[in-house]
Symmetry: C2
Subunit: 94 residues, 2 copies
């Protein structure tokens, strides 16, 4: 077991899993509170664009883990952006 | 120029830059509005933990770009978490 834990892939897998699934609590919170006013729309757009480039990168380098992680991240963040636009009240474009 | 654009590294660089700098608008918005109530604290903690694992991964694989991108991402997200705790009013732990 100790060998597996020390391999870079182990850290890479944990890192990819956490930085992908991390957006799920934000989706849940936004649905519960019906508000994402404090979430920056500029962040969401920049981040989703960046994730789309990670998907292009994954396709070009035939990297299935990067592809899967970023497709899930893209879906979760697009959901947050979509919910934010739906619940959008009198926000300022920041 | 066209050759450079088509290389995976170009996509990887753009992706890394965007998914790193994307958190800056969230830091600015949180400072401006003095509120991060809608930002999920569970997301921040999970994401920061994931980014720390990316840093471990980068050290083990001697990958400077991954290291630099994730140190900046870690600083920005820790700032958002810190600001959220400072401005925290009567939030629920979601």
């Amino acid at each position: 077991m100790v060998d597996i834990v020390n391999t870079p892939n182990f850290f890479g897998f944990i890192a990819a899993a956490l930085t992908t699934v991390a957006f799920l609590p934000q989706v849940i919170k936004t649905i519960k509170t019906k508000s994402a006013e404090d979430v920056s729309i500029v962040m969401l757009i920049m981040f989703i664009t960046g994730v789309l480039f990670w998907i292009l990168y994954a396709i070009q380098t035939n990297s299935l883990p990067v592809l899967i992680a970023n497709i899930i991240t893209c879906i979760l963040n697009t959901t947050i952006l979509f919910l934010k636009l739906i619940y959008k009240k009198n926000e300022h474009f920041v």
